[in-house]
């Protein structure tokens, strides 16, 4: 009886004062992550860009467009030589990274910084998160062509 009464007291206390438990919906991102990991393993980074076709000679019409985007959205942090300022200099970036990785880094930077090992290494080095500059896929492709030219391709 005593125990029962204690239980009643406790139950009433909790019923009267117990906080509402917030409902938290847990998402299921497991499949997505697996798919992403495969892509990352190939050194192409994570994002919409799975395959980029590079042409030689360079696609000349892309270069001035890519340069204009560079000057507006990238130049504040990236130089065209190998000197790091805020972010790494761009010299030879197209020789070190796959084109898909570069375009994913430009267009999907927040996810890349969260999940891509190479991107994370750069963050540890630079200590400033690369901002999302809302560059479209088409514009990123133009920037890539400008980078290739900067790396001496014809």
């Amino acid at each position: 009886m005593k125990n029962l009464i204690s239980v009643i007291i406790l139950a009433i206390l909790f019923a009267a004062c117990g906080p509402e438990r917030p409902k938290v919906e847990e998402g299921n991102g497991a499949n997505e992550e697996n798919a992403v990991a495969e892509n990352a393993n190939e050194g192409k980074g994570i994002g919409q860009v799975k395959e980029v076709t590079l042409n030689t000679p360079l696609e000349q019409d892309r270069i001035p467009r890519g340069k204009a985007i560079y000057e507006m959205k990238c130049q504040a942090c990236h130089r065209l030589d190998d000197q790091r300022v805020v972010g790494p200099g761009w010299k030879d970036v197209t020789k070190k990274r796959k084109p898909e990785w570069i375009m994913n880094m430009i267009t999907n930077v927040d996810v890349m910084l969260e999940r891509d090992e190479e991107a994370q290494k750069l963050l540890e080095l630079c200590l400033t998160r690369m901002p999302n500059q809302n560059v479209s896929l088409g514009d990123a492709r133009d920037v890539l062509e400008f980078m290739r030219q900067n790396d001496g391709e014809k």
């Binding site: 959205k73 300022v85 805020v86 809302n134």
Partner: protein, 660 residues
């Protein structure tokens, strides 16, 4: 026996535990699941945006409902230190008027734009009560985009109510005044003072406002108004007080008559006269200010003409309906058939019928005229009276189930009643002295219902005291059942007058995240760090500066003198959501600024002494925010220090960063 004692103790304990968690009577009637009804868990959103006037602070504030959380203060008619509105060179013209720069006005009412009588989620209009103006605010950018001054007005209270497709926004003068700035004796009120109602046309695409015409009316006070809708679309209803035409001690002298008027305006008829060229163009002076999202700048244009329709010369535009006594609110129900007049000194509340008004006009059931304008017989227009509704009825909102909710200022309560039967269904106390009230979608054809929010005039003991000046307050009530239930008190900034609430789903997805740098047409923008520079034009020094995490370019500036006007035009190069940068410099007499991604904002700095002055980003933006800074060197007047500017350049070394 022992068990009985224990059981008794348990009951007492239980009673105390429940009592201990309950709010104390009599201040609150919130009960049961009130807490969970207003609790929005972390990471989740409110169901409604509540757009609330700030009264004498001249701003709007945005709250989430049902939580009552303040999510934004939006400056309209007042300068705002938080984001530089009214301080930056770009926004100063927004507060220009024919009287010059007015830094602070009084904002009373809001109107969310409608299409076919329903919320369309595009704009909010707001009135400047003191120096008469109407503003249009974008619900995409949550910024004031346009402010139009109202000429021939003595205080813009009866405003900014809108027609069903936002064809017109209304600006009715609170105080009648002599037109044209005439120098006359105040005692010549009856002879010289006139009222003025402006119909502001709203461009259906751009939202741009333009005074289509003004009605010249007899001189008395216009308080509030509502447009007809559905069957009454094409009409507008205004409450009028001081039909006594008193000009002193209005408290007594404007409360003499048993009835004042509701003024019914047939604005389609007015449009006909206008098309026939019956309007008279008058010379006036008023400012029209427009903010451009492309140039990130406002322009202020002084306009000089307005077209006036004189209702004493043009019949069938206006009819007066007697309404007891000094009516405040005049509210039209969702069907458009019923017009509620709230006589703030009256013991009953009349509800007029649009059909009956039309019949009375057709059958000329007039009791006389006022300055030549027909006065419809009270009974001929009346649907019925709500008997003993409470003391001091002010405003009425509707729930779409045929019910009305009226605020009672003197008796501090909301009264729920049936519009057709006029039967009183429920009443709840408010704490204290409710002014306006709002049901989500209340003024539209299809109210969203669910809640009524009380905006109170007096706070007293509802919150922890903060000296003589207390927070203002609002209260949220559940109206989903038969009985109204108090759920929540929440504090408000400024004095809340009218407010509207709109489902978050109509706004949220359209909310602008940043300005596209490609589309920035500011004449002093630096669209990329390569364009950052300093230019001297005589005594003016223009700094084209860029900001991006985490540096300003240029961050070393020399060659500027005491006596120069230094304009810092700062372009935020970021293109991501929620990355504003701020800018401040030591000794800034004018302003600081906050620059949204992709935007350019300017402030003017006048160096008064020599030295080296630091400047920095004021909005914590990144891990290296503390490093986001620079220096400007100020030389004495006349000293020819060479103009120099740079970022990352170390004198005597190769220009370099941190190395690779």
């Amino acid at each position: 026996m022992k068990n009985k004692v224990l059981l008794g103790t348990a009951v007492i304990l239980a009673a105390f535990s429940i009592y201990g968690c309950k709010p104390q009577a009599p201040q609150s009637a919130a009960i049961g699941d009130a807490a969970s009804r207003v609790y929005v868990p972390p990471g989740q959103y409110d169901e409604f945006y509540n757009i609330v006037s700030g009264g004498f602070n001249g701003q709007l504030s945005i709250y989430g409902i049902p939580s009552g959380r303040l999510i934004k203060i939006l400056p309209v008619f007042s300068v705002f230190p938080e984001n530089g509105y009214g301080y930056s060179e770009e926004t100063k013209p927004m507060l220009n008027t024919s009287h010059g720069f007015v830094p602070w006005d009084d904002l009373h009412h809001v109107a969310i734009s409608t299409t076919k009588g329903e919320h369309d989620g595009r704009w909010v209009f707001a009135n400047g009560n003191n120096t008469p103006r109407v503003a249009r605010v974008s619900l995409k950018s949550f910024r004031t985009e346009e402010i139009l001054e109202i000429p021939n007005s003595g205080g813009n209270h009866s405003s900014p109510f809108i027609t069903e497709n936002t064809e017109y926004v209304i600006a009715g003068t609170r105080f009648s005044v002599p037109m044209g700035g005439k120098d006359v004796a105040i005692s010549s009120y009856k002879e010289n003072f006139k009222g003025s109602i402006s119909f502001i046309k709203v461009d259906s695409v751009s939202g741009h406002m333009n005074i289509a015409f003004q009605l010249r009316t007899p001189g008395f006070n216009f308080d509030l108004s509502r447009a007809g809708k559905g069957p009454s679309h094409g009409w507008f209803f205004f409450s009028c007080y001081n039909t006594e035409q008193a000009y002193t001690l209005l408290e007594v002298n404007a409360s003499q008559k048993d009835k004042d008027f509701i003024m019914a305006v047939n604005w389609k008829k007015a449009e006909e006269y206008l098309a026939q060229g019956k309007g008279k163009v008058e010379k006036v002076k008023y400012a029209h200010n427009v903010y451009s999202e492309k140039t990130h700048s406002a322009t202020s244009t002084i306009r000089n003409e307005v077209t006036v329709l004189d209702i004493s010369e043009l019949p069938e535009i206006v009819y007066f309906i007697p309404c007891p006594k000094s009516p405040h609110g005049t509210d039209v129900d969702p069907t458009g058939e019923y017009i509620v007049g709230s006589g703030k000194l009256a013991a009953t509340m009349p509800v007029f019928s649009f059909t009956k008004i039309q019949n009375a006009i057709a059958n000329k059931e007039f009791e006389g005229d006022f300055d030549g304008i027909p006065v419809i017989k009270y009974e001929a227009a009346l649907h019925g009276e709500v008997q003993k509704p409470g003391l001091g009825p002010l405003h009425t909102e509707f729930d779409g189930k045929g019910n009305a909710y009226t605020s009672m200022f003197v008796s501090s309560e909301i009264v729920k009643w049936n519009v057709k039967t006029l039967e009183i269904l429920d009443r709840v106390p408010t704490y204290y002295s409710i002014g306006h009230l709002s049901v989500p979608g209340g003024p539209t054809k299809t109210p969203h219902g669910k809640y009524v929010i009380a905006y109170n005039k007096i706070t007293k003991d509802r919150y922890l005291p903060t000296g003589p000046e207390l927070t203002q307050s609002a209260q949220l009530y559940d109206i989903s059942g038969d009985k109204m239930r108090l759920l929540l008190d929440f504090p408000t900034t400024g004095e809340p007058h009218y407010a509207e609430a709109i489902p978050a789903s109509m706004i949220q997805a359209n909310s602008l995240k940043f300005f596209k740098i490609e589309e920035n047409e500011h004449p002093f923008a630096a669209k990329g760090e390569g364009q950052a520079r300093v230019e001297r034009k005589g005594k003016e020094v223009h700094v084209y500066m860029t900001a991006i995490r985490s540096h300003l370019t240029p961050d070393n500036i020399e060659g500027v003198n005491v006596g120069d006007d230094v304009f810092f035009h700062v372009t935020n190069l970021e293109q991501d959501w929620d990355v504003p940068h701020g800018f401040a410099i030591k000794g800034a007499n004018n302003a600081e600024i906050l620059i949204m991604p992709g935007e350019t904002q300017t402030f003017l700095w006048k160096p008064l002494s020599t030295g080296v002055f630091p400047f920095y980003c004021t909005d914590f933006c990144s891990a290296l925010h503390q490093e986001m800074s620079g220096y400007i060197r100020i030389s004495a007047a006349g000293v020819k220090t060479p103009l120099k500017f740079s970022t990352g350049k170390i004198e005597g070394e190769q220009p370099t960063g941190a190395g690779n």
